[in-house]
């Protein structure tokens, strides 16, 4: 369960201040998957990072009654000069997971083989993404945050990712940001619309999609 208690967040961009959240209080219940909808620039990614804790709200508190992941597939923490193993071990240590178990899982899942012993600098973008995805899955989070699922690797690997993920969401929740209606309906029970600093939760993803559709139509 994640609670946002009177959270405000203002973003400073070159074109001025942009309010992402304006005194928002909502609760993301556990046991439910949420899909976050919003037009480009509404601040969906910022919301995800606020929930993750990567960013601190300007006002208010985000309370996490769960182990919350970093955004899925986020490989930004990887240090180029360190090997894949060292990077994975670091993340495992940060989250207090058994380094050996995590490394074993990543070795199995990422199929990077000997590359795991090479510096991440030498990886292709796809390999980095695979490593990040595997690391995120290896750590047993209660809540996975997914900001625009990026397709990783070839057809077979994607299949594998989908399978692993399907297995994982049996016991974990997700908060998903995507424009793909297909994915939203597939994974999410409930929806949320982020617009003009307000975050509205819907009991039903279809209701959220309908409302979002109307909203976009009106703004056209």
């Amino acid at each position: 369960m994640i609670t946002l208690d009177r959270v405000s967040k203002v973003y400073r961009t070159r074109s001025g201040r942009r309010t992402v959240l304006d005194n928002v209080s909502v609760t993301f219940d556990s046991g439910q998957n949420f899909g976050v909808l919003g037009v480009n620039g509404a601040g969906k990614s910022t919301l995800i990072r606020l929930i993750a804790g990567s960013e601190i709200p300007d006002f208010g508190v985000v309370r996490r009654y769960a182990r919350v992941s970093f955004p899925l597939g986020f490989g930004g923490t990887f240090h180029g000069a360190l090997s894949g193993r060292e990077n994975v071990a670091f993340v495992a240590r940060i989250y207090g997971a058994g380094t050996r178990g995590v490394l074993h899982y990543v070795e199995e899942f990422s199929e990077l083989g000997e590359y795991l012993h090479m510096p991440v600098n030498t990886y292709s973008a796809g390999m980095r993404a695979r490593l990040a995805f595997a690391t995120c899955l290896a750590l047993d989070f209660d809540l996975y945050l997914i900001d625009e699922v990026t397709e990783v690797g070839d057809q077979r690997f994607r299949q594998k990712c989908a399978e692993a993920f399907r297995e994982r969401i049996q016991r974990s929740d997700i908060i998903l940001v995507t424009h793909n209606i297909h994915t939203l309906r597939q994974y999410c029970d409930r929806g949320a619309i982020l617009a003009n600093g307000e975050l509205t939760l819907f009991d039903d993803i279809d209701a959220a999609l309908g409302q979002y559709h109307r909203m976009v139509q009106e703004s056209l």
Binding site: G31, A66, T77, H79, Q186
Partner: protein, 693 residues
């Protein structure tokens, strides 16, 4: 159409007595000229000398006029005493002559003058009508013909000419009435009947047009064109049986004529007689192999006969011959659609739409194809375009709605279920971590960061930790050499230069390395701060701890090294040693925290700090003892906490060294204050220490 205004001169009749010559001459006015020349030929009986006599002048001027000599005539025309009828005749003569000479504008002007002066005279009206219509002045020509017809109301050809002129002038009603009159006055003229029919049809009176067409057809039953024409008219009048019969007769008369065949085929198709149509169009396609229209019609025929593949072949052939025809692409798209080749159909519709972007029906069809082939995104795009171009069209709006509806439906029902979503048991929310657990997490994170810090340092430079050891060794070696020479072999305290400088360098490095490396901790670890568990405090402290531990390791290794080569000295006062190391490390961390915060706001603070530490090097009693300084200088230097750190550390090695200015508690307080200040600053300004990626 025969007998338009351009050809009027051929048909202009004249008086009965003049008719023979009239045929030979080129214009009606020739008659007048002839009269004149006859008169000229006569002897000047009345008064040969009286040149002022108008008649005489008239003779000579007529000669000039018929030669088209405008200048000569003008002299005469300017005279006031000329009677109008003569003046008109001269203008008339001039006009005709000038027209033949090619100066049409002047001829037109002369004709107008003549017509204005004496419109009621038949000859003049006749010539003027001819000049007007040949010069393209149809309204004036029509007026002239009406004048003539007022004189001779039963002149059929005149009515025909008037009709032509009115039609050309755009006055269709009057054209029609004259045209009908012409045909009625001379019912045996094929051309007049056809002309009347054409006009009637163009003003939307097919019944009357049919009447005249029947007349024309009766006059020339072998003319396929008339039959075709009549057939079209009858078909428009719903007499399709007769229409088809006539069309077939036209084909029978001219079996190779493509127009008759195409016409008959079209009528047969419209009356659902597909097989007969096919027989005709297949014949004609055999003869006219390069005619895209025939192939288009063949395609339609085959389509209606249910032979869609053949129809497709035919329209492909038509498109080979005429690839730019949007309608052909449209037809082809429809055929492909019928055949279920939706992608190709969509492409063909696209081509038709590209060739004829103004046609919304093409887009509408495209929408249907996309819709049926499940390409909803394309369908939506086309629908959007349709609604943009014709926002008021209800049908388009409804189609668009349907697409949207289906799109949602499809998403509802059509996707592959990757995961059944069983209602998962609602997990009990995890309790918020206790302070102990939070502390544990923090220590874990700092530990992980420290490991990473050492790893990256190893990976970043080739020397890696070699440098950590090499730097103090070189430093001590250099100081020892310089001062051994300068001080002739004896350090201020003890008897070993290495140990003396060692005791100065180690505490100084502990402070400087720690505080300096923490300065950049945030900016060089921004990516790690993306991890929710990692805070700025963690990365700053982890760096400081790594430096402290590194320096301690180096200190121990050096000491062990010294002992190994026999110049070692073990510290005598372990509590003082540990106390001094801990306090100077804490002080380094405190200042490091403050530095890290300052550096977040002043990006070049690390450079300034590097300069400050260099100054500190000289103020901290590293290569001297403050006791060697004058008292006032020593009192000032005693404000420097590092000086205390060095002396404290040094005194733990040399029991005989008991500096009275040394105050460990001062260092401890400064260290505690700096740590507190650093922690407060970091905590308070945490949100502003870095820009999130």
């Amino acid at each position: 159409m025969r007998g338009g205004p351009q050809g009027a001169c051929d048909d202009i009749p004249a008086d009965a007595d003049d008719r023979k010559e009239q045929r030979l001459l080129r214009s009606p006015l020739s008659a007048a000229r002839r009269q004149c020349s006859q008169r000229q030929a006569r002897p000047h009986r009345e008064s040969a000398v009286q040149l002022s006599d108008l008649g005489e002048i008239c003779h000579s001027v007529m000669g000039a006029a018929s030669a088209g000599d405008l200048g000569a005539c003008r002299f005469y025309l300017e005279r006031q005493d000329i009677p109008n009828h003569q003046r008109a005749s001269i203008y008339c003569q001039l006009s005709e002559a000038l027209y033949h000479k090619g100066s049409r504008d002047v001829a037109l002007e002369c004709a107008r003058s003549a017509f204005d002066l004496q419109p009621e005279k038949e000859e003049i009206a006749n010539l003027c009508a001819w000049v007007f219509s040949n010069c393209g002045e149809h309204e004036e020509a029509a007026a002239a013909y009406e004048r003539l017809l007022a004189i001779r109301p039963h002149w059929a050809a005149g009515h025909r000419h008037a009709s032509g002129s009115f039609a050309a002038a755009g006055q269709l009603d009057r054209a029609v009435s004259h045209g009908r009159k012409a045909s009625d006055l001379e019912p045996h003229s094929f051309e007049f009947a056809l002309h009347a029919a054409g006009l009637l049809e163009s003003i939307g009176r097919p019944e009357q047009a049919a009447y005249y067409l029947v007349r024309a057809a009766a006059l020339d039953p072998a003319d396929a064109g008339v039959l075709r024409h009549l057939s079209t008219t009858l078909f428009a009048l719903d007499q399709s049986e007769q229409a088809v019969a006539l069309a077939l007769r036209a084909v029978a008369l001219t079996p190779a004529d493509r127009l008759s065949a195409l016409h008959a085929t079209e009528l047969l198709l419209r009356t659902n007689r597909y097989d007969e149509a096919a027989a005709i169009i297949l014949d004609i396609v055999d003869i006219h192999r390069e005619d895209p229209v025939a192939f288009r019609l063949l395609s339609a025929t085959q389509m209606l006969r249910g032979l869609t593949e053949d129809a497709l072949a035919a329209i492909d052939r038509a498109l080979d011959l005429s690839p730019e025809a949007a309608e052909y692409h449209l037809h082809r798209a429809n055929l492909l659609y019928r055949l279920g080749r939706l992608d190709e159909a969509a492409e063909a519709f696209g081509r038709a739409a590209a060739l004829d972007p103004s046609n919304p029906d093409t887009k509408r069809s495209q929408l249907t194809v996309y819709f049926d082939s499940g390409r909803f995104i394309e369908a939506l795009a086309i629908g959007g375009e349709l609604i943009r171009t014709s926002p008021d069209n209800e049908e388009y709006a409804r189609a668009m709605l349907q697409v949207l509806h289906r799109r949602f439906e499809m998403i509802d029902g059509d996707y592959v279920v990757l995961s059944e979503r069983p209602s998962r048991p609602r997990r009990e929310p995890r309790p918020r971590p206790t302070i102990f657990a939070a502390l544990q997490t923090q220590l874990r994170v700092i530990y992980a960061l420290m490991i990473r810090e050492t790893r990256t340092r190893l990976a970043d430079s080739k020397l890696g930790y070699g440098w950590a050891l090499l730097e103090p060794v070189l430093h001590i070696l250099m100081l020892s050499l310089v001062f051994a020479v300068m001080m002739r072999g004896r350090p201020p305290i003890g008897d070993k230069f290495f140990i003396f400088y060692y005791t100065g360098i180690i505490p100084y490095h502990l402070f400087v390395h720690t505080s300096s490396s923490m300065t950049n901790a945030v900016s060089s670890n921004t990516s790690l701060l993306q991890l929710p568990l990692v805070s700025t405090f963690d990365v700053i402290i982890a760096r400081g701890l790594v430096e402290v531990l590194t320096d301690l390791m180096v200190a121990i290794i050096l000491l062990a090294g010294f002992s190994a080569v026999g110049i070692g000295l073990l510290p005598r006062d372990l509590p003082a040693l540990s106390a001094s190391v801990v306090t100077v490390s804490l002080f380094g961390c405190g200042i490091g925290l403050i530095n890290a915060v300052i550096n977040a706001f002043f990006k070049s603070w690390d450079k300034i700090w590097a300069q400050l530490t260099r100054t500190l090097y000289f103020c901290s009693g590293i290569f001297y003892v403050p006791g060697m300084m004058p008292d006032w200088i020593r009192d000032i230097l005693a404000w420097n906490p590092i000086l205390h750190a060095v002396d404290w550390f040094r005194s733990s090695f040399f029991p005989e060294y008991e500096p009275h200015w040394l105050d460990g508690s001062y260092l401890a307080i400064v260290a505690a204050v700096s740590v507190a200040a650093g922690l407060c600053l970091e905590r308070g300004l945490r949100r502003h220490l870095y820009e999130p990626l």
